[in-house]
Amino acid sequence: MSAGKKPKATILVIDDEQIVHESVRRVLEDAGYAVDSALRVDQALSMVSESSYDVVLTDLMVPDRSGMDAVEVIVRDHPDTGVVMFTGFATVDSAIKSMKLGALDYLPKPFTPAELLQVVERALAKTIKARRDREIERTYATAEKAIKSSLDLKELLNLIGASVVGLLKVKGSAVFLYKKAEEALELASSYGLSDEYLQKGVLLSEKSISAVLNSVKPIVVQQEDFDKELQYPAEARKEGIAGIMSVPLTINGTVIGVLRIYSADRLSLTDEETDLLLRFSEQAARALENAMAYERVKEDIEGIKRGIPGPVRKRIQEA
């Protein structure tokens, strides 16, 4: 591997023949992968526990244990690592058995460098996708729990903003709450955006954001439409924003606010990410509603207390 360059991925090869290691290593390293070798299954499994490999290639017949054991243990204990079986004794039965156990592929020996690279690339893509799906589910669960654990409106607004940025790995976010009296949206909190951008001016009549109020559907505005759809297109570009998505926060069909996410690149969410964002927005809306109810009662108490002169308050307490 060329020094100083970050490897595409880390691969562990399990095989008892040195010559296999040498040829596989050459092919994979030339393609930019970092390769480690193990001659025994037990040795390989402890290596997998110590450093997390992206993909493990295992021979079927290894002197100490079957490569099938390696597949089973890695699938069970290391879900972030993909595993592929390769063998000089390819049979239909071992192919089916290994893949039922969770091997991502099965490659009969001998194979060409192109075949090896194709199998590794495909396995790597599947592993990365599965890892990302699990990570996003985990992040979502944590985010959902976080926003449900607070009735403090300010804290909650910050949690919503930070959570959605972490969840979708975007530049920034903002929450706007709908003020019934003024019939307008008011910026309640933001995350990852500069003060300058936030203070650009009155946000109330922004075009795309009011459209969300009416359509009650998420609206995406990419940079080429900024001039048409945004009130402050130049400021958005200066802030380094290339895509904005506005998601209504609703309770039983009534909009109580808007959650906006700002992306430094064109905004392109997968269907899964969009689903997650909508689920999150629904939970966020409920949490906000609860926090606002709590806040109102607290304000009522403060209001009453403020309305009573000090000496009287003291006498009430004594009474």
């Binding site: 390819a90 049979t91 239909v92 192919a95 089916i96 893949m99 039922k100 991502l104 592929d105 099965y106 009969p108 729990k145 449900k148 654990s149 009735l151 309770i251 689920r279 629904e282 939970q283 409920r286 949490a287 509603e289 609860n290 109810a293 709590y294 009662v297 607290k298 009522d300 108490i301 009453i304 207390k305 009573i308 009287v312 006498r315 009430i316 307490q317 009474a319």
Partner: protein
């Protein structure tokens, strides 16, 4: 007539294979739809839902692998089995990579086929039950987080857990101020008589385990010495009881229990699910309590004021 055990789409270009598979599976009460070309299978799947696809590999026109690809696209939930007289490593790997649940060689015995089909149906049942639990959990979580009314929150929790876990009943108890007694505040699926049988002592082993933040499983409520009220449990028809603690910031605030009518074990997944559920609802309970407390303060203050200005009760 009995309810069919499952719907199976069989795709093979040879009529004799279709006939024999239809007979073997039909006798075991599966509803079989035979089909001789991949195109037809695609049309059938667009109109109807099937549990399992059994497809041959080599067929004129669309082969088995191509058919699997098209069918999977229409219904990713269909379980696919490939059968072939020309088994090769290459086609086996391709079929498995495409998501086949198995790949078997012709000829096979009726028993081999039935064993496989029955196993696939069981796996599907488990998969769909898990999905049902997850979906229902989402709905119930949303309902619970839509209210700050403590009574409503508690009722939604016990009703929800009975619905999701398909158990006989459920109770939710919270620790009183002394932290010595667990008081049942909501229940579902159980008689009032049973629920009000008496206080649960925190010093008894089960409550003690809960207070230490661990779950307990009573396999047989009538015979287990840890049970404080075995006779009442028998009268109520209770088999097993699973209790998990309700934790807020690592502090136990109460317990969530599920009751089955037959003595049985709980799967690791069920236990994990109940923990997850308890974790989520504990937060909702805490929020509702916080809200009620501040509302009580507000009302008390208002009443005090009223009393102060109207000491003689004239107004």
């Amino acid at each position: 007539m009995d309810k069919k055990r499952g719907k199976i789409l069989v795709l093979d270009d040879e009529q004799i294979v279709l006939d024999s598979l239809s007979r073997i599976l039909g006798e075991e009460n599966y509803a079989v739809t035979p089909c001789r070309a991949g195109r037809d299978a695609v049309e059938l799947l667009k109109q109807d839902r099937f549990d399992i696809l059994i497809t041959d590999l080599k067929m004129p026109g669309m082969d088995g692998l191509q058919a699997m690809e098209s069918l999977y696209e229409i219904d990713p939930d269909i379980s696919m089995i490939m059968i072939t007289a020309y088994a090769t490593v290459d086609s086996a790997v391709k079929a498995m990579r495409m998501g086949a649940v198995d790949y078997i060689r012709k000829p096979f015995t009726p028993d081999q086929l039935l064993e496989l089909v029955n196993k696939v149906m069981e796996d599907r049942k488990a998969k769909f039950e898990k999905r049902y639990r997850e979906d229902t959990f989402e709905e119930i979580k949303t309902a619970i987080s839509s209210t700050l009314n403590l009574r409503e929150v508690l009722d939604l929790i016990v009703q929800g857990v009975v619905k999701i876990m398909k158990v006989k009943g459920s109770t939710l108890s919270l620790l009183d101020k002394t932290r010595e007694n667990l008081r049942v505040l909501a229940y579902s699926g159980l008689s009032r008589e049973y629920v009000e049988k008496g206080p649960l002592e925190a010093t008894r082993s089960i409550s003690d385990t809960i207070l230490r933040g661990k779950h307990t499983w009573v396999e047989n409520a009538v015979e287990d010495p840890r049970i404080q009220y075995p006779l009442e449990a028998k009268r109520e028809g209770i088999g097993s009881i699973l209790s998990v603690p309700l934790l807020v910031r690592n502090k136990v605030i109460g317990a969530l229990r599920v009751y089955t009518s037959e003595p049985r074990a709980f799967s690791e997944e069920e236990v994990r699910f109940l923990y997850g559920f308890a974790e989520q609802v504990a937060l909702a309970i805490e929020n509702a309590k916080t809200y009620e407390d501040v509302k009580d303060d507000y009302e008390a203050l208002r009443d005090d004021l009223w009393d102060y200005f109207d000491r003689d009760g004239l107004m």
